[in-house]
Amino acid sequence: MDYLKITGPAWTFGNNVDTDQITPGHYMDLPIEEMSKHVFEPIAPEFVSDFKAGGIIVGGSNFGCGSSRETAPDALKFLGVAAIVAESFARIFFRNAIAIGLPVLVCPGIASAVSMGDELEVDFEAARVTNLSTKKQFQATPLHHIMVESLKKGGIMKMLADT
């Protein structure tokens, strides 16, 4: 991938989406094909059937808080979530997403400026989010170059295998 920029429709969530809501504990030992059928089950049980691959999740503050379970970003990636943009992330979720090659970006002010279904453009290298539906643009927090490299390669294990 030459340049990391993703366009897609927004799927909005509120504050404090925790990893137990993303992949509940009692499905965690299932294979990812099965486990991913239960993503967001406690808070948005319709998500899995409604979501179409390529969508961009927009979260409020503290997205991915709680357990360090990597099943959370894994299952979102498996369902085809193209990127996650949030006011802030819990640090372990953020690290895990970068590590598995699921693009994430901190973008203050984004949650209140995006409605469900808005078309977004997320430029990870310029650290900029554009709401194409409202023509509004937001400055995000830049990713460290190692994170961008991990995302471009598809995760840190690909980086490890290459060296």
Binding site: D18, S68, N96, I156, M157
Partner: protein, 442 residues
């Protein structure tokens, strides 16, 4: 470097006076800064990204996932098997055939990979075992495949949780990238009143300052109130540092820390504290002496109320134990209350000691007898119910008061159940009454 924002602290003025042991200008350092500057051999500043060697890597059943990642990357050897700890705690005893097979696979790999510290299923919950066996020591940089790895901060260790992919990277390379975190400080003042515990302190902090007050940051819990807390009480606070976003949750490594570590493991330990002129992003004062029992209400650790506002709420289940509050002093506090009565027949009390060591000590002290005679069911050390995997789960509409660390929607079984978090004394008192109860009133 993962979850941390960059550039955020560039406007801060980090000029600090003095001479450096590295030869440059000596800047007063927080504990996190000390750990990282020692690891990378040069002074570091908050917001800086470093690649640091890992002193110890802890894996529970997630080992299987990390190992598969290693294999797919073509790596078949662990960087240093002496620095790796593996045990089972999340699914003990194996609740399904699938998990039994996963554990069998891990046992087979462990034997051939030569992992030096394998405790299997017999020693208890990972964080408690890491501390009891002396793997968590002041100044050590430790990563674990569990968010509550920050518990080791109670002993001055820089413990933090990572995912299975990053752990696979650590197993291959023995190092990982980090952002040197800014540090915030909670000054704990005064002694805790009777039947008020360190759990009430950390719940109070989560309620008052919110679950993001320490996002991406290191915390230091200091002050005369912090010094007065037992090492076990400190562990409860450090354990829940992640619930307010923290990367590390340190207490100073003092005489009590060294006394706890004596006879645990081979390595020596020295005291550790921040420099007097260290820079903090924020400082908060917490008066422990006026604190009442606190309860985190559904479905957030930050939804905290004083006991008076929630007492009387009927419960179906009470859960005592876990890595947060399953230590000897926790069981002792609960037993003090449970010896005064019996749990009503339509209320259930489950006890999960944090480790075998705690279990044996509780047995010798007669605590298990008190629990059993009060109507409790005593279970083995496991994470099972806390994260909704197995044993002690809740049906739709049920209410539980628990000494664990999270009350997220659906965390302990049904998404339509409710979990309240409280101290061991609050859990015990509530179990006896069948409703959330002020432990000072029994």
């Amino acid at each position: 470097m993962g979850g941390e924002q960059i550039g955020k602290f560039s406007e801060c003025n980090w000029k600090r006076p003095g001479k450096s042991e590295f030869g440059g200008n000596k800047l007063g350092e927080t504990i996190a800064e000390k750990v990282f500057s020692r690891k990378v051999g040069k002074p570091v500043r908050p917001g800086e990204y470093v690649v640091a060697p890992i002193d110890c890597a802890m894996l529970h059943e997630a080992f299987a996932l990390s190992w598969m990642q290693l294999m797919s990357a073509g790596v078949s050897e662990i960087w240093d098997p002496q620095k790796v700890v593996v045990l089972f705690d999340h699914y003990i005893p194996a609740p399904t055939e699938r998990l039994a097979a996963a554990q069998m696979m891990i046992r087979n790999i462990i034997q051939s990979a030569g992992v030096a510290h394998y405790y299997g299923e017999r020693e208890g919950i990972c964080h408690q075992v890491m501390m009891e066996k002396g793997h968590a020591r002041p100044g050590a940089l430790i990563v674990g495949t569990d968010s509550h790895t920050c518990t080791y901060g109670a002993l001055g260790a820089a413990g933090t949780g990572i995912g299975t992919t990053e752990m696979a990277y650590v197993l291959a390379r023995g190092e990982l990238w980090f952002m040197v975190p800014p540090t915030i400080r909670f000054i704990l003042e005064g002694h805790l009143p009777e039947r008020v515990a360190s759990k009430d302190v950390i719940l109070h902090i989560a309620g008052k300052y919110g679950t993001e007050v320490a996002q991406y940051k290191s915390i230091e819990f200091v002050g005369d109130g912090a010094e007065a807390l037992s090492v076990e009480s400190r562990m409860t606070i450090s354990n829940m540092a992640v619930e307010i976003g923290a990367k590390f949750g340190f207490f100073n490594a003092d005489k009590k820390t060294l006394a706890y570590l004596k006879g645990r493991g081979d390595a020596s330990s020295t005291p550790l504290a921040a420099d007097a002129d260290a820079q903090y992003e924020a400082t908060y004062e917490v008066d422990q002496s006026g604190l009442e029992p606190q309860v985190a209400c559904p479905h957030s650790v930050g939804n905290v109320k004083s006991i008076g506002e929630v007492k009387g709420t009927s419960i179906h289940q009470a859960l005592l134990g876990s890595c947060t509050n399953g230590r000897f002093e926790d069981l002792q506090a609960a037993a003090e209350i449970l010896k005064r009565g019996t749990v009503p027949p339509f209320v259930r009390l489950y006890v999960y000691p944090a480790s075998r060591e705690v279990y044996v000590k509780a047995m010798e002290a007669g605590l298990l007898k008190i629990f059993s005679e009060a109507g409790a069911v005593i279970c083995n050390p496991t994470c099972g119910p806390c994260f909704g995997a197995h044993t002690g789960l809740l049906a739709p509409g049920e209410v539980c008061i628990s000494s664990t660390n999270r009350n997220f929607k659906g965390r302990m079984g049904s998404a339509n159940a409710e979990v309240y978090l409280g101290s061991p004394a609050t859990v015990a008192a509530s179990a006896l009454k069948g409703a959330i109860t002020d432990p000072r009133e029994v």
